[in-house]
């Protein structure tokens, strides 16, 4: 972990978790963008944030230390490929570097999953770099399963795992219907990274 000038959290008990509030868009969206934009090589445009927040603001949770935003999770929930499966998706997850290792990311993801569950989600999916051991650990602790590996998924040439959390029983005679995935889909989901590494 690098040394930063940002304040160190006294205890994780001081962290307050809030759901995204569209009425406070001006303040919250700016803070979210600032935080996620900090360590990103390929920053997202305002449209990406709006794409998620306008449609699924109720799946977005934020962690605060006082007035300071220290973590955020952004997701969506849709029928997977127009089929019957209602699939949640963790699109972005970030925790301020100096606040990592206190379970904030886990708490955020759990909140988002709970919100998805309340909306009757069948499963929750996401992608993460195969080399991001911390993220893999975080999600697997929550019960996510590595369902497949995606070769050179990211622009930087790295591969990804798709992780899925199954919340309900598999429909009868389930098969690998996942597999339509040719390039147009891939292209769309390329934008949906997550970049938490909930450090050590």
């Amino acid at each position: 972990m690098s040394t930063t000038t940002s304040p160190t959290p006294s205890t994780s008990a001081n962290i307050i978790y809030r759901r995204y509030d569209p009425k406070q868009e001006v303040i919250q969206l700016e803070a979210i963008r600032n935080m996620i934009g900090t360590d990103l090589s390929e920053p997202y445009s305002i449209y990406v944030y709006r794409y998620f927040l306008y449609q699924w603001g109720d799946l977005c949770y934020m962690a605060y230390d006082g007035d300071l935003l220290v973590g955020v999770v952004v997701g969506k929930l849709e029928n997977h490929r127009g089929g019957p499966i209602l699939r949640g998706y963790i699109a972005m997850l970030a925790v301020k570097e100096s606040y990592r290792g206190h379970g904030i990311a886990t708490k955020l993801v759990q909140s988002s999953i709970s919100a998805m569950k309340a909306l009757n989600a069948d499963e929750v999916a996401l992608e993460t770099e195969t080399s991001n051991k911390a993220a893999l650990k975080l999600y697997e602790r929550l019960g996510f399963l590595r369902s497949k590996r995606l070769h050179r998924y990211y622009f930087n040439g790295n591969s990804a795992f798709r992780l899925i959390l199954y919340l309900k029983e598999a429909p009868n005679g389930g098969c690998c219907g996942e597999e339509g995935e040719h390039h147009h889909d891939h292209g769309e989901e390329r934008g949906e990274r997550e970049f938490d590494d909930d450090g050590v």
Partner: protein, 720 residues
């Protein structure tokens, strides 16, 4: 959703705005009469929105949303505007530029975009930006200033030849099944790749370059002279090989290995190279594709470029063996080993091997598809010769059994032929893709098996087949469906093996997934035994089936030993199994087995049964480990025997070295896993095992087989 009501209101307005989604315009300049002024409607609709409220058109996808000014490649930088290709360069700099162009080319072969590699070279840009199609137009523009001779006579021919080499590759790769943007980026941003320039002209240009070099030999030190010469000779050889590949029917003898000596030479004299970083610019991407996010330039280290070009030459050379058809089972095992090579062969080679294997409905340049299919079927399960009698096809009376046999065999060729040829092509995909594609193929082979069983019954009656006793019951051979079933089981094993190799299974799933691996292997062993009962005395079939059985039993022992070892480790919570995960273990099990769910035989087992056979609750840990060590001993024995078999028996006529290397990796895994069993047994016997004092880490390297990584069981104190 709380905002649901507001959103749906907005969508209504959007519909009014969207001009009923007009169909795509037939041309880029529609007649003016087709425009409609929507200003009033727009103002009316937008009044219904709150200030700051966003409307989203369903056509506006997330991918489009990603565009951002920060991701804009921006203006052309001064370095671009001011670049002068004619500027005098030291010979060492010329070498540096040539070497970095090789790095660019190889990075592109490895899957980066041209905009990140070759096209970022300002020299290449100077040549291509005038959109040349003829060789004489492919220049840096009119010469300027002093000292341009080396630029004109060495650098220009070299750049042009690199571009032409890329054009050959860019023509070959998309000819076959290779995933664009994933394995290979064929995008040329509308620039010509000098495809129209003939090989002869290109080769002459390089020959003239060599002549100029030797005429001006005294201008260089002898090291520099040789270094430049080697680079042009390598380029000449690469160009010639790409050209030969593009016309492989005329050039069935590969010469790729002729490049290796030059590669070795330039690897050595690279120390002479002096870098010219200002000759590359990221801002070129602005010109190439302004609407696409810029991608960072890829700086492949020279040493990696060398190993990549070496791999290109040796592996492309090797695949020409296919043209000397060595029989279906040998070709199949060649593809399996080819696909398993690490690192995976380059997209170019993976594309060309598919072309050499099957082009214009000819296998290996000559055979019709039915020949290799029949070859494979006959070698594996030796059906009655009547099925393959060419006279069947001549019979014209529909009531004649010969006619009816021919009809069914036609069906089989059409149905199985496609899946069988595709299977070879699947083995040429990157490993992640291969696993996913095999999951789909498995379903197709499964339904084909059901169909083939019906055809088998009809053929049995048409050929008046006599049933034979097998396991006390009179049975028919079910030859065709037996063959299908055998491949289906191999696919199921391969999917499972790839799950380990690609790290799709985390440690705590190892016990269960090795259980499935041994289950599929066991099922195949039983199937092979059944086939053995129906092949008669055909020596080829007997030899193949017995070899498969040996291979299968060895891996079955290895997988069983692994299953037992991990099952024992799981008892002490040493496999990082999450403690309080969401969902349930049963859902996760069903999710894991989802691709296999609809397979008829062998079926996915019920979760409770699965846990029971994997956990072995009735067996104490010492017995579990004892059993594991017995299996590992058997596996070692099996692999020892397999390592002594010759290439005829092992169907590795074209890849015996790879075959042996694979057996030796499996053997190493056996030893490593044997050690882990030993360590754990000692700890268990001493009664000292606790999850708090032991830890398990996986070893993928050290020459182990990729699907059988070795667990290192260590006490935590030692680790610290």
């Amino acid at each position: 959703m709380s905002e649901g009501a507001g959103l749906s209101g907005v969508e209504l307005d959007l519909d009014q705005l969207s001009l009923q989604s007009p169909p795509a315009m037939p041309s880029s300049t529609p007649p003016l009469s087709s425009f409609r002024d929507i200003t009033d409607e727009f103002i009316e609709a937008s009044k219904k929105l709150e200030v700051g409220q966003l409307v989203q058109d369903p056509q506006f996808t997330l991918f489009q949303a990603i565009m951002d000014p920060k991701m804009d490649s921006g203006l052309l930088e001064p370095e671009y505007e001011n670049f002068d290709a004619w500027q005098e360069r030291l010979p060492e700099e010329i070498i540096g530029i040539m070497d970095r162009l090789l790095c660019n080319e190889m990075a592109w072969h490895l899957g980066s975009a041209l905009s990140q590699t070759l096209f970022a070279s300002l020299y290449v840009d100077k040549i291509l930006s005038s959109m040349p199609t003829r060789l004489n137009d492919a220049t840096f523009g009119p010469p300027r200033g002093e000292g341009h001779e080396i630029i004109q006579n060495i650098l220009r021919p070299y750049c042009v030849a690199v571009i032409r080499c890329c054009a050959y590759a860019n023509w070959q790769v998309p000819n076959e099944h290779i995933y664009d943007e994933e394995d290979f980026v064929g995008q040329t941003y509308g620039l010509p790749m000098l495809q129209a320039v003939s090989y002869k002209d290109m080769d002459n240009l390089l020959a003239e370059s060599l002549v100029w070099l030797s005429t001006n030999k005294d201008k260089f030190t002898s090291e520099i002279y040789l270094a430049i010469r080697n680079r042009i000779l390598l380029r000449k050889a690469l160009l010639s090989n790409f050209q030969r590949d593009s016309d492989w029917k005329k050039n069935p003898e590969p010469q790729w290995e002729g490049c290796l000596a030059f590669i070795e030479a330039i690897e050595k004299d690279h120390t002479l190279a002096k870098e010219v970083p200002e000759a590359w610019s990221m801002s070129i991407q602005r010109k190439l594709a302004s609407s696409v996010p810029p991608r960072p330039l890829v700086d492949l280290p020279f040493s990696e470029a060398i190993s990549t070009v070496r791999k290109l030459c040796t592996e492309t050379h090797d695949i020409y063996k296919l043209l000397d058809y060595a029989g279906a089972s040998n070709v199949m095992s060649y593809f399996i080993h080819f696909g398993a090579r690490q690192p995976t062969p380059l997209p170019y080679t993976r594309s060309l091997i598919q072309t050499l294997f099957c082009k214009d409905l000819r296998i290996c340049g000559k055979l019709p598809i039915r020949d290799i299919l029949y070859d494979d079927v006959r070698e594996l399960c030796n059906p009655p010769a009547k099925l393959f009698d060419p006279k069947n096809d001549e019979c014209e009376a529909p009531s004649n059994p010969k006619f009816q046999i021919a009809e069914r065999m036609e069906w089989f060729i059409a149905r199985a032929g496609r899946l069988y040829i595709e299977l070879y092509k699947y083995l040429c995909q990157n490993r992640s893709r291969m696993r996913r594609i095999l999951c789909k193929a498995m379903l197709e082979w499964d339904s084909m098996q059901v169909e083939a069983e019906e055809i088998d019954q009809e053929l049995a009656s048409l050929t008046k087949e006599q049933p034979k006793p097998f396991q006390g019951v009179m049975q028919y051979g079910f030859h065709l469906s037996s063959w299908v079933y055998h491949y289906k089981l191999r696919i199921m094993e391969q999917i499972t093996l790839l799950g380990f190799e690609l790290e799709i299974y985390p440690l705590h799933e190892f016990d269960g997934m090795y259980w499935y691996l041994q289950f599929y292997l066991k099922t195949r062993s039983l199937h092979i035994e059944r086939m053995l009962a129906f092949v008669g005395n055909e020596p080829k079939s007997l030899s193949l089936l017995n070899f498969y059985l040996l291979e299968n039993v060895a891996m079955h022992d290895l997988a069983t030993a692994c299953m037992l070892l991990y099952s024992a480790l799981a008892r002490y919570n040493l496999l990082e199994k999450p403690r309080n995960p969401q969902g349930s273990d049963r859902f996760r099990y069903e999710g894991r087995m989802k691709p296999f769910m609809s397979i008829g035989v062998p079926e996915v087992v019920q979760y409770d049964y699965f846990r029971n056979v994997v956990d072995n609750p009735d067996m104490d840990t010492s017995s579990l480990l004892h059993l594991a060590s017995e299996h590992i001993a058997e596996a070692k024995k099996g692999y020892r025997q397999l390592s002594t078999l010759d290439k005829e028996i092992t169907r590795s006529k074209m890849c015996h070295d790879t075959y042996k290397a694979n057996i030796s990796k499996l053997t190493r895994s056996c030893f490593g896993i044997g050690v882990a069993i030993g360590v754990l047994t000692r700890e268990v016997d001493a009664g000292t095992v606790e999850s708090s004092n032991l830890c398990v880490t996986l070893h993928q390297g050290a020459g182990y087989h990729a699907s059988f990584p070795v667990p290192l069981v260590t006490s935590k104190e030692v680790k610290k």
